[in-house]
Amino acid sequence: MICFISVVLRSFKNSLQYRGAAIAGMFTQVFWGLIMIMVLDAFFMNETGTAPISRVQSITYIWLGQAFLSLLPWSYDRSIQAMLYDGRIAYDFIRPCSVYWLWFARTLGWRTAAVTLRSVPLVLFAVFGMRLLGMPELAIAPPANAVQFLAFTLSMFSAAVLGTAITMMINVSMVWTVSGVGTVALVSAVVTLFSGMVIPLPLFPEWTQTLITLLPFRGLVDAPFRLYSAHIPAKYLTYTLLHQWIWIAVFLLWGKAFLRKGAKALVVQGG
């Protein structure tokens, strides 16, 4: 456990060094967010109150999506890929702790670091920048109330764990494929759509709602964000957390079994 925590912290600290890249990335994200928000805003213009989510809630949803973008499992741990290429991966297998948890800790560390670097300035921009630029109607709304905010925080932590557990599936798959590019392309397509990053999930057609409620991906984006704006009342928090943690358990067990199989098939590239 101590090993796990220290790996998380070290990986977190290492990734915090890439501040420049994070700020450059932030510009693009602000732009993305703005475009999506303006489109949604235009859609809401001749809406008569029948939409399943309000205009302000949708705008807040998009901003939060940009702020917590780096939590999404649509990339893999580059250090694992590099180690698979040159054979250093063998060291990870002789360490006195579980390989799965070692990688899990590293991934959790860099994901949370990336989110920490990006989310704070992005939310600040969504609050103050939008007002300074004369678009207060497109700014992010504050959390509905303290209780909802607490519920949001709790489910956001679970979202970070869930995102890491799904990333681990991609990481482990590289034991076979070495290059994670193809897997990531397919996984990210599914994740983006069904987490709510393309458009807020409540706006999806009715016939898809049952499916997206069951899938694990709404636990990454949709559920916490709707708790934030009280679209899901805090009293349903238990259901949200239950949904997230059942899927976390599934991905943990699946990923571990997957890695056990992979370790047998693993070829260490010598050199």
Partner: protein
């Protein structure tokens, strides 16, 4: 050997080398096809929820969406060399281009024709054709598209050339330039009049993506692009594409003159 023939040679060599990995290309194409198809699912979902967008219908939106993706994928396939230019500048390997008796622009253009961009192209063209068949515009409309599509591709190529040329000064490639390329595509997926004024002005007067996509498609649909502007303006505005491309080439030349080798 003249430029066009030489370019053709470069491209066929590039295609041949990529075909060595045909499975990888095929899988990546399917991957991109899926990713971009998901984007359009978002557009579809919004229209099915709200009915219309400022008076635009789904087939009309499909024209904008399909057009911009088709044009961008064409430009993106041709200009891969400019994307990876920063490596050459950093390593000093750009010297090689300077030693050969052909213009640097032609060589960088010829360095790769990226087949895996076909995913976005197929998806964009598919959506466009679907919208077209729903609306059945007149032959004048078809002529505008025949003019506007290469113009839009030229415009996007121009943007990518400029972001490549910038690396002669900055060495690092600039992520902010993505706002102009991918951001431009993202913006162009919806009709320009749904955005705030400053954003549409930016994409009309500064980086004229609106002139090569929004205006001509308005002309196809016989709809005024903005209050007080007649629809036929869109018959002329795609000329901005080749013009922008020309300006980009001038910037490229001055960038090449500014290049000094790292000498490694």
């Amino acid at each position: 050997m003249n430029g066009a023939r030489l370019y053709w040679r470069f491209i066929s060599a590039s295609v041949k080398s990529q075909m060595q990995y045909r499975w990888s290309i095929l899988l990546q194409t399917i991957g991109t096809l899926l990713v971009t198809a998901i984007e359009f699912f978002g557009v579809y979902a919004l229209f099915s929820r709200f009915g219309s967008l400022k008076g635009w219908t789904l087939p009309e939106a499909a024209l904008f969406y399909g057009f911009i993706n088709t044009a961008f994928s064409l430009a993106d396939a041709c200009t891969r060399g400019f994307d990876t230019l920063s490596t050459h500048v950093r390593m000093g390997t750009f010297d090689r281009y300077l030693l050969r008796p052909v213009s640097t622009g032609l060589q960088v253009f010829g360095s790769e024709f990226t087949l895996r961009r076909a995913g976005r192209f197929i998806q964009g063209a598919g959506v466009f054709v679907w919208g077209w068949l729903q609306l059945r515009p007149d032959t004048a409309g078809a002529a505008v598209i025949a003019f506007a599509l290469p113009s839009a591709a030229a415009l996007f190529s121009g943007i990518i050339i400029i972001s490549g040329a910038v690396t002669f000064w900055t060495v690092e490639s600039m992520e902010a330039m993505n706002i102009l390329t991918y951001g431009g595509v993202q913006t162009g997926m919806y009709p320009l009049d749904v955005y705030r004024k400053w954003l549409s002005c930016f994409f009309i007067f500064f980086v004229p993506i609106g002139l090569v996509s929004y205006f001509p498609i308005c002309a196809v649909l016989h709809r005024s692009p903005f209050n007080g502007i007649p629809f036929w303006v869109g018959y002329i505005t795609p000329a901005a594409g080749p013009l922008f491309f020309f300006v980009a080439l001038i910037i490229w030349r001055s960038g090449v003159r500014h290049y000094s080798s790292t000498g490694t």
